[in-house]
Amino acid sequence: MRGSISQGETSMVMTVAETAPRTLDGLPAELLLDMYYAMLRARRLDERCWLLHRQGKIAFHISGMGHEAAQIGIAFAMRRGEDHFLPYYRDLAMVLACGLTSLDVMLGVFGKKDDPSSGGRQMPEHFSLRSKNIYSVSSPVATQVPQAAGVALAEKLKGGDRVAVTCLGEGSTNQGDFHEALTWAGVHQLPLIVVVENNGYAISVPMVQEMAILHVSDRAGAYGVRGVTVDGLDPIATYKAAKESIDIARAGRGATLFEVRVVRLTPHSSDDDDTTYRSKEDKVTLKASDPLPKFREHLMQAGILTDQQDTEFGAKAMAEVDYAHQTAEAAPYPDVEWGAGPVYAP
């Protein structure tokens, strides 16, 4: 199978005005603009998928809207494309930041032959990209967490300095897989970050029905690992906390259970209808939490982002998404022989 397809993707070279401030909250403007663009692009791509679904052009989509700030904060704290990353289905912004292209994602969404994650074998949002150490998303939740412990253990045994980062939802922390993974993380002081993207719901089930604690990071004490909760609507706070956790892990000083509080701006997936369990008012409140306009505002107020720059970013993102969408739509389906295998590696 194929590698990642980058043709037609524009690089993220930034043109920051000479006069703009060079740092904000201790972070360089270039980094912040990169982060902003990464969030924006993910959002545009995500929106396009919903549109394609409404148009009946794709069969399924599951979305990361509302999670982007957290994901980008974490991704930018990693050695992206080198550190091991075991994502879950909401990690669109994060896999884009780590090396999948918009076209790669769209090829998966359309189930096309050149989808680098699976060649059309897996459902949309079941990301993977071997060349960038993005491991394969599975559907049964939380299975990736003890696998990530294994990836981290191997790293330690090999004497490497990569960390393993894995993500899951707060509801999924109820699976035995999570528990067993954290146990290994504690016993072996693994270079592992277990990110819990806590959006308060497991499909329709609110957190209070899922667990009798306020913070998922409270679970860290059960395993002798660090526990951290950050505001995942704030990419800067997330970035800083993630950086610290990753540095600790890389230095061989152990794992962190890293909770980011986020919001799920959409229904669970394109198959879901959330009107039975979220009121209209709730959804209005939700919109107000959207991390993307918040971050835009923050950067603009600091003079890091200008209106013009934002318009340029928007246009660039749209161009990329258009290209990805059109190319993927026109791309060929897999040949039927591709269904048959190979089932076993040589």
């Binding site: 069969a59 399924f60 189930g111 096309k112 032959k113 699976s118 059309g120 074998r121 897996q122 459902m123 949309p124 079941h126 599975s138 559907s139 049964p140 939740v141 509801g171 999924s172 109820n174 699976q175 035995g176 897989d177 497991a202 499909i203 329709s204 089930v205 029905q209 899922e210 667990m211 198959d271 879901d272 039975t276 369990y277 389906y333 897999p334 040949d335 039927v336 591709w338 269904g339 048959a340 295998g341 089932v343």
Partner: protein, 327 residues
């Protein structure tokens, strides 16, 4: 009597049993206000409240294990697994626990519980929303495995399952939830767990199937019937314990057998039917025992040309019937 879909029949069975017996309760992911992701429990939360319809944590092992404990302590849980694919974390609790407790306690403890799970492919679900799990679980003595192929049976069999004093895995063809319709009487009736059903009489060959594949086999039998091929169709309905008599009796009549299932072929459910026929039906064999099944790849692939390639359907089944009839 009125026409209902498969899922409506299932919901009606649960609704009536909840009303009939206060020992019955439902738990599973999103079964409460959401009414289940397939809406099998729609309206039941509003009607029976949060002590009868309990949204579980996202943890299948515990959905089953809590069911086992509640069953041992006098209740009759219905545990909903969101997709059959996601039952696997509970494998140990089902196989080593639920199925063995009656035997291992010399019959002093019973585990009257139902585990409902939507199974099967053809719905664009890819590797993990398409699985057929009946063979794996039918290999487990102590567990009953039931798959209805139509709304009438679905309601009657589910009621029997809820009243049964053993753990019953009740598998529902999700592809057929809204596609398969049929007459369903209002009110109480049951269909017994155990007996298979000859749903079409014929003389040339016997086709064994269940669930969604039975639905397709009916269409295919109709089709080849026009060409003069007389198919006898056996709907197995209860996969474990199997109604061997009905299986053998039909074979004695036709001497030719085709078993259709969408699970992977190798060691799929049809293997046992074939093995039984090749032993106890040897004297009646007029042709090779044929199986039409899913190919031996690790799951139903997502992209629709690949999914079509994987799934048996009326056309492939009709072809297999023709081939066997011509033997």
């Amino acid at each position: 009597m009125s026409e209902k879909t498969l899922i409506e029949a299932i919901r009606e069975a649960m609704d009536e049993e909840l009303a009939r017996n206060s020992e019955v309760f439902i738990t599973g992911e999103d079964v409460g206000p959401r009414g289940g992701v397939f809406r099998a429990t729609l309206g039941l939360f509003a009607k029976y409240g949060p002590t009868r319809i309990i949204d579980s944590p996202l943890a299948e092992l515990s959905i089953v294990a809590v069911g086992i404990g509640a069953a041992m302590n006098g209740l009759r849980p219905i545990c909903e697994i969101q997709f059959a694919d996601f039952i696997q974390p509970a494998y140990n609790q089902i196989v080593n626990e639920a199925a063995r407790i009656y035997y291992r306690t010399g019959g002093t403890f019973t585990v009257p519980m139902v585990i409902r799970a939507p199974y099967g492919g053809g719905i664009g679900g890819g590797l993990y929303h398409s699985q057929s799990i009946e063979a794996t679980y039918s290999h487990v003595p102590g567990l009953k495995v039931v798959i209805p192929s139509n709304p009438y049976d679905a309601k009657g069999l589910l009621k029997s399952a809820i009243r049964d004093n053993n753990p019953v895995l009740f598998l529902e063809a999700k592809k057929g939830y809204r596609l398969i319709k049929g007459e369903v009487p209002e009110g109480d009736y049951t269909v017994p767990i155990g007996p298979a059903n000859v749903t079409r009489e014929g003389t040339d060959l016997t086709v064994y199937a269940y669930g969604m594949m039975h639905f397709y086999c009916q269409q295919a039998a109709e089709e080849v019937g026009k060409e003069g091929i007389s198919v006898e169709l056996v709907d197995l309905r209860t996969l474990n314990p199997l109604d061997k008599d009905t299986v053998l009796n039909s074979f004695k009549k036709t001497g030719k057998a085709l078993i259709v299932y969408e699970d992977n072929r190798f060691l799929g459910y049809g293997a046992e039917i074939a093995a039984i026929l090749a032993d106890e039906g040897f004297n009646y064999m007029d042709a090779p025992i044929m199986r039409l099944a899913g190919p031996d790849v690790p799951g139903v692939p997502y992209s629709h040309p690949l999914q079509d390639w994987f799934m048996p359907g009326p056309k492939k089944i009709a072809d297999a019937m023709r081939k066997l009839a011509a033997y």
